[in-house]
Symmetry: C2
Subunit: 273 residues, 2 copies
């Protein structure tokens, strides 16, 4: 197994904000890996989870019942690796890194899943908070993880999702330290993008979410906050992976946390006002 | 068959805006019928569609792929007639009037569906534009159909929904005439409530949606517009009924157009900012 958990995942490229989504996908298809925060400015990023068709209704219902962590942008027909959100894309190859799950256990972290693909897989593309980072940035909210060249930190919380069929599990959140003077802007800008997690689920004391130590995220990298910064927590599209770990479907494919699918959609398409 | 299509459906009661949702449900359970526009001010109304479990994935996917007409508020487990959105409610009795569909044909319009309920039915509650009428009213937008004591007019459009599995069909819209000076407010207020259809899908010329004559709605009642009013069209939760008619599942239960389910949820819960 190719496991990357213990290595810091750096941003893919300091110039990647100017890439087109198509160019980003081509580089990932060719083998480039790394966190996609900041890639292809203004374009919608997506979490991936693919499950056997027998589990697709439970997954879709789990997403409907937990829309903050699991806002669905697209669902493929069984066996299809294409999506109208990205012309010419191949969901089996175009993400930087994948995770392969068997019976709820992480089995591999390859850079493509051509050898793992099955005809009965239904793929879900789920909104990603990287999408609203450009709106935050435009409103003067600093993005510490990007400034520090790191993946965003993510934490498994003590908050349980509403179960659906055989699927249950805790909510996962991403965290960004926000200066108090920019908190209102961060909340306002993300609220207008409910399809990519929307408003924060919590601001302030991490223990309210059952998080013991911000310096030890469950996924991604720790970030260094400024003294006055308030930790702001958004529901995270890694939540379906936590549901897979808790509920143990026989098989699933996902993205590796922070290494997302780049769609051709523009963030503006998901802005409600 | 108890068919009401040719009769105008009047509002249930001129004082119904002050009812609680629970009281409204009790009156409908006791046999009261009528359009629910204006009932239980500030509480979220919902469209109902229940299909056999075998069709539930297609319906949920149809809703995901068509979120403007079909924003899902809740999905029951198979056979259940309860929802966390309304304490003590019975989805089989608590709507003013239902429609029973067999092979895509309207078979009955009873005031309860106790005799039609099946253990394999999965019920979908879908956001309703009546929910945002209080926000419109608060922003100074007149509601002509309520002023005139009528059901809102609804039209089958020439715009096709994105199919899902065996389900396909046209988008249905509701229409409200809005004075030009209030158009911005109507768009702004509804945009902030994407869970109840959100922003309009069209303003102005009805022929752009394939609507020939505003005076002859497909569902509901015609309303009289003021001379300067602009017709504003919102995606409508009757759309799943049009999909049932077009796609002919063996069985379905729905609400009768304009005669909605009253939830305990407050509109504010669905407001994104």
């Amino acid at each position: 197994m190719n496991r990357t958990d213990d290595l810091p995942v750096t941003l893919v490229d300091e110039h990647a904000h100017a890439w087109t989504p198509r160019a980003a996908r081509a580089r990932f298809r060719a083998g480039l890996t790394g966190a996609t925060a900041g890639v292809a400015a203004g374009h919608t990023q997506a979490n991936l989870i693919a499950v056997p068709a027998d589990w697709a209704y439970d997954m879709l219902l789990f997403c409907q019942r937990n829309p903050k962590p699991c806002p669905v942008l697209d669902v493929t027909d069984a066996g299809s690796w294409t999506t109208p959100l990205a012309a010419g894309a191949d969901l089996r190859t175009d993400l930087p890194r994948y995770r392969v799950w068997r019976d709820g256990e992480l089995a591999d972290e390859p850079t493509d899943v051509l050898g793992y693909w099955r005809e009965d897989l239904v793929a879900f593309l789920i909104g990603c908070s990287f999408t609203f980072e450009w709106a935050l940035s435009g409103a003067g909210v600093p993005l510490r993880h990007i400034e520090q060249g790191r993946n965003v930190p993510m934490y498994v919380t003590s908050r349980q999702c509403r179960p659906a069929g055989r699927l249950r599990g805790p909510m996962v959140v991403s965290m960004r330290p926000v200066p108090p003077t920019r908190l209102a802007a961060a909340i306002r800008e993300s609220s207008l993008l409910p399809a990519v997690h929307g408003s924060p689920v919590h601001c302030g004391d991490p223990s309210a979410l059952g998080i013991d130590d911000l310096a030890r995220p469950d996924f991604g990298d720790p970030v260094t906050a400024e003294p006055d910064d308030i930790p702001v927590f958004w529901a995270c599209g890694v939540t379906p992976q936590a549901a897979v770990a808790a509920s143990r479907p026989p098989f699933a494919l996902t993205h590796a946390p922070g290494q997302m699918f780049l769609t051709d959609a523009r963030d503006e398409q998901y802005r409600v006002a």
